[in-house]
Symmetry: C2
């Protein structure tokens, strides 16, 4: 049999795993729960057990495995050292690659930050195919970012490049962000940010709107926009103003070829894109203007693809 | 004789040239005027003549020259194609490297954007020695930026990465920037920006100040700060707030090891740094916080050093 590769995407609730052929074809994907109790000490052994069980099931020997890639919710340096991952209960600095490799009898492991790894997956096997200079923007509960240049993750000096959710975008008075600062992009441009903008719009206006009775979440807001709801459309405009302004700043600095918009908010469809690009065009420097916007195609699988690519 | 290298830094008024040993030792530097008339058609032939005259003077043959590097005030791609340079009268898109090489009988030429090339010079032979991940910030009439990663310029997909002067930093009502947008970082954080902030402060306050009679420029403003002038110090605080906020955004995206502050404003000395870093600390994401701030040491020579390094 040809060499196999495993890609692992570790989240705070579940760990997604994928077994791939050496050419990147997905053989099978599955998931296990993330056991964060006892300072997350079970996380890596559980992952190793899951991989070993799958290898046994497929009659795959250690020498048939090229390696294991893993994406983690924290800053990871080039050597695989993670500097804490609060969502996993990890309050320590240690080498994830070495530790997981130890649990796997020495199989090669490479680790990266989850947002960066998802960007790599999308660049390699998703919307970014054929582009060399990509910024992936994940619009979920927060906003994550990953930069891929010439097929490699650009991680920065401590593995924290692409922390675009926390760029300061507004001086308006607002409650503090989870990071402790105020006016961060993710306070306006994430799913949570959309709900914040929506509540404010509902309070400050007496207009009729689908959103007066619909559940207050980003998904229903975009459905209302699709139906032509005026209040929801005003919220979409505001969301787009913050995000377009933020992505223009990123374009001026990075000068990418492509922005890939992923995460839960992107699942609402292409309806979100013009609200972003209209404002992007307004704020970007002319020489950095030629950049395409597309949505993620791999969705939640970006992480396992990117993790697999990490070790190839 | 060992192989020689020439570094050329082209500005709108003068062209600086340097002749270097292959190990990077500067042999001699000089400058010639930039003749921008007739659509700048004399610029490259003049540079070629200056290099050939220096070669003759030093009895240096074409085979003794490893190559010529050149920094230009416009976006330049990896192949040496420049997309206009208004300050040189160039309203066309053409391959500078090939054209200059033609004027030099085929000597190898490599070209780059001047801000990027200056960053490379500073990274290689100046304040950035020993650092791998650098953002150089040039505070002059405007604000330029250059990013150097692992000893190479990060130029972006169209050679326009690091256009940090035009990141949107403020929604305050203000006249348009030269780029056509409003609220660009260079409208507040450049030498011109300092004068703007200073005028505003002088108009909005009746306080005594050295700046009531001193020339209204950035240099005199910083001299007043050094003398403890309260009004000038308030201006310095405002300058630092805009610039610190802007550099925090850059740090969140790029996660650099080092910021090098260059350009005319940096000549006023280390007095400028705390005003920047205090505000940087306030806005940066915690994981991107560990970055050093230093001033440029090469000053106006950064361009010729970087250009020489480009071709080495």
């Amino acid at each position: 049999m040809g060499k196999k590769v495993f890609g692992v995407d570790v989240g705070g609730t579940s760990v997604k795993l994928g077994m791939f052929e050496g050419d990147g074809t997905l053989i099978e994907k599955w998931s296990i729960p993330t056991r964060t109790e006892e300072d997350g000490k079970h996380v890596l052994p559980d992952i190793a057990e899951a991989i070993k069980a799958k290898m046994a099931e497929k009659s795959c020997l250690a020498e048939d495995v090229f390696g294991v890639g893993i994406g983690l919710p924290g800053p990871v340096d080039d050597d695989g050292v993670i500097n804490k991952a609060v969502n996993l209960g990890w309050d320590r600095v240690f080498n994830v690659s070495k530790e997981l490799s130890g649990h796997l009898g020495g199989i090669k492991v490479r680790a990266g930050n989850d947002a960066n790894v998802a960007a790599l997956g999308e660049a390699w096997a998703g919307s970014g195919k054929g582009y060399n200079n990509i910024v992936m923007v994940t619009l979920g509960t927060g906003i994550g970012g990953g930069i891929v240049v010439d097929g490699n993750i650009y991680a920065g000096v401590t593995g924290s490049a692409g922390e675009i959710g926390h760029i300061h975008i507004s001086d308006e008075p607002i409650e503090a962000c989870n990071c402790g600062n105020c006016g961060c992009l993710e306070q306006f441009g994430s799913a949570t940010g959309i709900v914040r903008l929506l509540k404010k719009e509902l309070e400050s206006s007496d207009d009729d709107s689908i959103m007066r009775t619909a559940p207050l979440n980003a998904k229903d807001m975009w459905e209302a926009v699709k139906k032509g709801d005026a209040l929801a459309t005003r919220v979409a405009e505001k969301f787009g103003a913050y995000l377009g302004k933020g992505l223009a700043v990123i374009a001026n600095i990075i000068n990418p070829e492509l922005f890939i918009i992923g995460g839960g908010v992107s699942m609402s469809g292409d309806v979100i894109l013009p609200f972003i690009t209209k404002n992007f065009d307004k704020y970007v420097f002319h020489a950095c203007k030629e950049v395409k916007f597309v949505r993620s195609v791999l969705g939640n699988d970006g992480g396992i693809y990117g993790a697999a690519k990490l070790v190839m």
